[in-house]
C-alpha cells in the first residue's frame, strides 16, 4: 500500500523564486522521512531526512523541509530556485508501520525557467 503521496507530478518555477514541493504520508507512530533528488542520468542523492529530532530539517543546497504531524506533511522548500535545481525529487517514508520497506513517492519533476 502506498504510504506517501507527492501532490504534484510537475512543478515549474522561475529562477530566483521560491520552490515548494508537496508531500503527504500515511500516519505512523514514528516515521522517518526523506527527500532525495535525482538529476538526469545521475544516481539518487539524499537532500535531507527527518528522524524525530527537530521538525524543521535543513538539507543540502539550501533546501529544507518541515515535519507537520497534524497535517501528515513533509513539504520541501527552498527560498530561491537555481537552474541547477532542475531535477526529479522523491519523498520517502519508512517507519514502524512499513516493515522493512522504504516507500517512495512517484516523484515531482522540477523545472526552473531562466
Amino acid at each position: 500500500a502506498q504510504s506517501v503521496t507527492q501532490l504534484d507530478s510537475h512543478v515549474s518555477v522561475s529562477e530566483g523564486t521560491p520552490v515548494l514541493l508537496r508531500c503527504n504520508y500515511s500516519s505512523s507512530y514514528s516515521p522517518s522521512l526523506f527527500w532525495y533528488v535525482q538529476h538526469p542520468n545521475k544516481g539518487l542523492q539524499l537532500l535531507l531526512k527527518y528522524t524525530s529530532a527537530a521538525t524543521l530539517v535543513k538539507g543540502i543546497n539550501g533546501f529544507e523541509a518541515e515535519f507537520k504531524k497534524s497535517e501528515t506533511s513533509f513539504h520541501l522548500t527552498k527560498p530561491s530556485a537555481h537552474m541547477s535545481d532542475a531535477a526529479e525529487y522523491f519523498c520517502v517514508v519508512s517507519g514502524s508501520n512499513t516493515g522493512n520497506q522504504f516507500y517512495f513517492g512517484t516523484g515531482t519533476s522540477l523545472t526552473v525557467i531562466p
Binding site: K42, G43, L44, T51, S96, T106
Partner: protein, 118 residues
C-alpha cells in the same frame, strides 16, 4: 570512501534470456535494498537484506526474479527468462540499519543498471 557500485551500467538482452545484475554496497553497511524504476515512475521495492536474517522478498514481482547476498556484502539480482516489461533501471542501495524505535537510517544509492529487453 567508496560509494555503492553497480555493474553493468547498461545491459541489453533478448527476450527469454537470463541476466545478472551486481551490487557492491558500502563497506560495513548491513542493509541492502534492490529497487526497480520504470520510465516516469517512482521506485518499486524489490527485496531487502539485513545482516544474516532471511531476506524480505515481498516486492519481487514474479518467481523469475531472485537475489542473493554472499558473505553479507555483494548482492546479485537475477532475472530469468526476461520479458520486455522487465526493462527498467535497477537500483541498489545500502545503509547502516538502525531499528531502534523503528527509525531508519539513510540509504545510499548506486548509479543503477539500465536493463533493456528487446
Amino acid at each position: 570512501g567508496a560509494g555503492v557500485s553497480q555493474s553493468p551500467s547498461n545491459k541489453v538482452t533478448e527476450k527469454g534470456k537470463d541476466v545478472e545484475l551486481r551490487c557492491d554496497p558500502i563497506s560495513g553497511h548491513t542493509a541492502l535494498y534492490w529497487y526497480r524504476q520504470s520510465l516516469g515512475q517512482g521506485l518499486e521495492f524489490l527485496i531487502y537484506f539485513q545482516g544474516n536474517s532471511a531476506p524480505d522478498k515481498s516486492g519481487l514481482p514474479s518467481d523469475r526474479f531472485s537475489a542473493e547476498r554472499t558473505g553479507g556484502s555483494v548482492s546479485t539480482l537475477t532475472i530469468q527468462r526476461t520479458q520486455q516489461e522487465d526493462s527498467a533501471v535497477y537500483l541498489c542501495a545500502s545503509s547502516l540499519e538502525s531499528l531502534a524505535g523503528g527509525l531508519r537510517d539513510t540509504q545510499y544509492f548506486g548509479p543503477g543498471t539500465r536493463l533493456t529487453v528487446l
